[in-house]
Symmetry: D2
Subunit: 262 residues, 4 copies
């Protein structure tokens, strides 16, 4: 690429203005519904390459309603800043015994986040997430943070419902779960079409996270259903058993990535 | 309709389960961006029938991010509860000198709300609203309620941007505006296809509102742009001049409607 | 409504330009996948009011990819002309022994068609239809009209897959099916919010159809699946048994409606 | 990547079933509206790196309504096969004097095609294309291939209308235009987040196209409008002057890519 071209991603122009993804830092803030789960590890080797590690059986399904911005301008034109996603997190133990998180599946409803995800090693595809929001007023439709109030979340992929969660707030303090607890190893790589028979060589990276802030987390009881799908492979995780749930707000910034230590 | 059929709206079945809109009460809670405006009244008689009243020149553009429920079940499956809409409110003076609000234009992104609107005399069509949300954390992407923080809102109709607003929070208390200040007269009526040359006979109604609660309103400075559109008729309101803006959360319930007093 | 207001439907303005639905005639042309079915009539009285008639057990699921226009202008801005829908047709026998079609359920992906449908007594809600198109070239992705070529169609409602069909063209001439064979009785009526406890009084109408043209119909073998749904009530029709299928193109115009003869 | 993992793209699993993009060959068939244009070359060096070549001033805007499949299965579940896109094609002269096409901008409405495009060097982002279809029946809404019939096409990106075209069929044979006439050089490359300050190193590739078939092309007169946009950079091509237009159906397959000869 000629040095005078500034685009961080396609399309490639001198100014870089039209690039789908501007360079980091990327700032995110969102409303999160976290459902901690125990997962079947029987098929773990079909999800996590042996060289990377093995499933411990701990995991989390996150539903997230994000705002993202680089320089603040996206907040003035929120079609550029907002998106929702459903994130499957599995805890892995590396061959050296260290613990990380790994995301085998994630679905988002917007292109900027999809590509930003691929750059970070989040395996994003399009999918549609809905999640009840908790509003700071006391009303039958507001799902205020208060014991007994109920919330729902769902994911649909290619117009089939894939994940459903129902939560009841307990009024107790909650725990951070899933990607809130440990760094997520990303798997970065695209195939080379000049060698169309070869799957891509992957690189493992860790995100460079800064300015992480969170509200209190609020405890919830939850039920979760994973439905059959002809393409998606969530069934590799068995029938997730809910072991905890929480809701709250998170902000964080990503400045880049570092290679996963060998 | 046979008495044994329970559907409040189509489709019509014995149980009424599949009806697009269940009977009221309907409970709503949402995040609102309100931009108060002064409107040109020159073309008012093309928007408000003389028998109903005349424009006073006061108005408001609302951007709303709603959750709605009847019995709480929609909050567990939020694809049924959530939608966003942009609402144009004009103040009218009735022939008897009384003041009301009237909604000449409104666009929503979901069918349940669209039909519920037509029943109430809100002239809803599909349109896509985006609006920055204020999250209760201090982060570059969170647009927290705090002096100097910025938010945006937009409406697109049939894939053309129609309204854009940009706001800066001032840190001062804000005012309720638009439909938050006075009841909105609804214009209810559908044409009869057996007389396809006749426009519908309209009935004017007032909503039966209950359980209204609001957060504090937060003041903002705002700019607003209304863009040309080949179908929409916002140009009948001239170039709106912003006279105030506020943001906050509202909850309310609608139990039915009453005829507008003659 | 003051006579000077021209809008056929909301919003109501003097010019009528912004009205969601202009007055008929409405011209439609589309690509149709028709799956003829035998339906369980056990629950027929929960779908068809006794005064209107009873299910005969014959029916059809149509998937339709439409273009609609009034004066031709919508064809120049096709976001206004195009939509897809899935139509459930049941044959009914009226108390006097006459045979008609009746549509208990229909889902469309666009607002103009949704409201035009309600005016005609089609119980439209939003839903997403996908259907393979047959292109006039011989290529692996073209699904050309040719024996052995395969096509699919699907409907999703509120992000859950509801109906799936798979077809194989036989190369034989096909039959018109469903609404292509007999007029469809429409059930028109909206509830009155000033009496929120009363379901609407329905009026039965027949469409005034003109200028009907069709391509040849092409025969197909088909399989059909109707999936469970928490809101939709297709289960009232039992498990539809496919008795024939066809594909082709149809054009027709609707000039208004007439009351169903008593 | 461990050899036992089959995914061609993310997500990465042993079976590869959930991968967003399966390996080629990819088979495409679609309906095309092609508007040939003369482009301003003043800002060409901001669009095409000097090392690759320079704009000749010839170009084309394509609107395409595609079906794509690998093994035929997507045609049975068309939510996986169908998408629409708008393609900007510019002719370039390489430093050695050879002529190619280059695509500076392209917008698609689906994730599979988006990623497949990035692999081929098409700079895809999400955008919404609408285009009138020509149906093989003679009706006011069918836009049949016949002199005098009119069609429209449009692109919207992030809910702003960006390109509009209006066509009138002349009844004369038409020409293939744009990417139908010469191979399109792809610009492949993603940035490396471990070096977040560096734009990506691009590789130039040519597609390995097979089984290309087309219907007749049908001539049209066309007008084209490119509208301002705060992010997109179509203004770098000046005000395109229409020099010809055609419509028709195309099928082709892509088996991989080859490096662009130096």
């Amino acid at each position: 690429m000629d040095k005078t071209f500034a685009s961080f991603t396609a399309p490639f122009t001198a100014s870089g203005r039209a690039a789908l993804v501007p360079p980091p830092p990327w700032h995110y803030a969102g409303w999160l519904i976290n459902v901690g789960v125990r997962l079947d590890t029987t098929h773990g080797a079909e999800l996590v390459p042996a060289r990377l590690g093995r499933l411990t059986g701990k995991g989390c399904i996150h539903f997230a309603d994000w705002q993202a911005t680089t320089d603040g301008s996206e907040l003035l034109d929120p079609v550029y800043s907002q998106y929702r996603e459903t994130i499957v997190i599995t805890e892995i133990e590396r061959p050296d015994g260290s613990l990380y998180n790994y995301c085998p599946f994630i679905w988002v409803d917007q292109d900027i986040s999809l590509l930003r995800g691929l750059l970070q090693g989040w395996p994003k595809k399009l999918g549609t997430t809905h999640m009840t929001r908790s509003l700071p007023i006391d009303h039958a439709a507001a799902a205020k943070i208060k014991a007994g109030n109920r919330l729902g979340a769902s994911l649909s992929v290619k117009e089939r419902r894939l994940i459903e969660a129902k939560l009841t707030l307990t009024g107790r303090p909650g725990q951070p779960l899933g990607f809130l607890t440990n760094k997520v190893v990303g798997a970065v790589g695209l195939p080379d079409l000049t060698r169309p028979d070869a799957p891509p060589r992957l690189h493992w990276v860790l995100p460079d996270i800064r300015d992480k802030v969170a509200s209190d987390w609020h405890d919830a009881e939850a039920s979760l259903a994973v439905l059959p799908h002809p393409v998606e492979e969530l069934s590799l995780l068995g029938t997730p058993e809910v072991i905890g749930a929480s809701v709250g707000w998170l902000g964080m910034s990503v400045a880049g990535a570092t290679p996963l230590p060998e």
